[in-house]
């Protein structure tokens, strides 16, 4: 391809992978080491190529035209008297272009050498029918005696019948309280506090139970019309008296 004349390149526009690729192909037509490349000649080659393509009304991608414009600018920079203020200098730009072409060329040649090697599956072969190696995995199960026992405890705890035991508590039942209050009330003439109906010496939870039961007993007896209740205000002492 590199041996071909630029005229032939024009009909091959679709074959180029970007302006740099085209530049490299053109550079190779100079048949010199890329280090000795004449950038000015390359610019002329490229611009001539683009003009020819336009004359043939070939559609050129925008980046080819951008490159052409840039090269034209580079050429004028290289030819006109130097402006020391300009940075980067046209010479630097030209050198960078040459370095890029060298690098692309190096990789193109390396790629060609790579794929031309004796390749496995095409030129070189591995064994056609290997027996294959097999790994048999053998599980070594682990468990400790504690795990076993704890598991059984867990199952037993989860599934054994559940029995609810209510603790025996010292209480005065409602029946007991009604009996007691109705007996005692008969012997009282005046208003007496509900506390006076509790058994003497009753303490703690039993006293609380007796008080609660006696209160409910008092309400029950009042409902039956056998007892009257009196209280001056909320939380004030509660007085009981037999109905007249």
């Amino acid at each position: 391809m590199s041996e071909e004349a630029p005229e032939i390149l024009t009909i091959d526009i679709d074959g180029w992978e970007g302006p740099l690729d085209l530049l490299l192909a053109l550079a190779r037509t100079q048949k010199v080491d890329l280090r000795q490349l004449s950038i000015l000649e390359l610019v002329d080659q490229y611009i001539a190529f683009v003009n020819e393509a336009r004359a043939l009304r070939l559609e050129l991608a925008a980046d080819y035209l951008v490159m052409a414009a840039w090269l034209a600018y580079l050429k004028s920079g290289l030819l006109l008297p130097r402006n020391p203020e300009e940075s980067p200098s046209p010479e630097e730009l030209a050198l960078r272009l040459q370095l890029r072409l060298e690098r692309l060329n190096a990789m193109r040649e390396a790629g060609a050498r790579l794929v031309a090697r004796d390749r496995l599956g095409r030129d070189i072969f591995r064994r056609g029918a290997p027996e294959g190696l097999r790994v048999l995995r053998k599980a070594n199960w682990e468990a400790e005696i504690y795990d076993l026992i704890a598991a059984y405890g867990r199952i037993s705890a989860r599934t054994r019948p559940v029995m609810h035991v209510v603790a025996v508590r010292d209480v005065m039942t409602l029946e007991e309280a009604i009996e007691r209050v109705s007996t005692l009330i008969g012997s009282r003439v005046d208003w007496t506090t509900i506390e006076s109906f509790l058994p003497e010496g009753a303490t703690g939870t039993y006293r609380k139970s007796a008080l609660a039961s006696s209160f409910v007993a008092a309400l029950e007896l009042a409902k039956q019309g056998r007892v009257e209740l009196q209280q001056k205000s909320a939380f004030a002492p509660l007085y009981l008296k037999a109905s007249a």
Binding site: F125, R126, R127, G128, A129, E131, G132, L133, R134, V135, L136, R137, K138, A139, N140, W141, E142, A143, E144, I145, D147, L148, I149, A150, A151, Y152, G153, R154, I155, S156, A157, R158, T159, R160
Partner: protein, 201 residues
């Protein structure tokens, strides 16, 4: 290298790369119709005698294979330590305490269904064996523990398994939440407890 050696190399490579055992004619299709393939095969037989690879004839076809006495190297056993799952250990415990026991009974005791794989794992571990069928409708298979089970868990006999009273004494029969609270009180949440107490002061 003389021409016959060249041919031997060629036959060697062709046979090596082939996906199937080859007849002499098939080999000739690669190395040339005039070639003394039989002679080359005989040479290869000598070259490979006593090596890790041998050239063998099966009917009228030839191929390479690894030497028969080295076949054991192609298989590699790898032991992997694996912990028994919760379902596995529970199932094992039920079998150990209730054997012989059917799958349905195990499920009734666990209160959860067990997958087929669970008992398979226990059998693979060598701890559980089928122990005959129960003579009830459906004749379900029963399971029991093995001698290997006793050995692994360091038990002289199944009677060495702690009884219900022992389990109770060890706190292993406490409902799970109570046992958990017990652990928290005695364990790593002690610091949190102190803080709570401090705040209440």
């Amino acid at each position: 290298m003389n021409p016959q050696d060249e041919l031997t190399r060629a036959v060697e490579a062709v046979l090596f790369a082939s996906e199937h055992p080859m007849t002499v004619d098939e080999i000739k299709a690669h190395v040339g119709a005039e070639a003394d393939v039989r002679g080359a095969l005989a040479d290869l037989g000598e070259i490979y005698a006593g090596r890790g690879i041998e050239i063998v004839r099966r009917g009228d076809r030839w191929h390479f294979q690894t030497a028969a006495d080295l076949a054991h190297l192609l298989r590699r056993d790898r032991e992997e330590s694996r912990k028994l799952s919760r379902a596995g250990i529970e199932t094992l415990a039920i079998i150990a305490y209730h054997e012989p026991v059917t799958r349905a009974e195990i499920e009734a005791i666990r209160g959860v269904q067990i997958s087929k794989g669970t008992i398979d794992v226990l059998m693979e571990a060598g701890w559980v064996r089928p122990a005959g069928r129960r003579e009830v409708p459906g004749r379900p298979l029963t399971y029991a523990t093995t001698a290997g089970f006793l050995t692994h868990f360091g038990l002289a006999s199944r009677r060495d398994l702690p009884g219900m009273d022992d389990l109770k004494a060890a706190g292993l029969l406490d409902p799970v939440d109570l046992a958990f609270e017990g652990l928290e009180d005695s364990g790593d949440s002690a610091d949190a407890e102190v803080e709570t107490a401090g705040q209440e002061d």
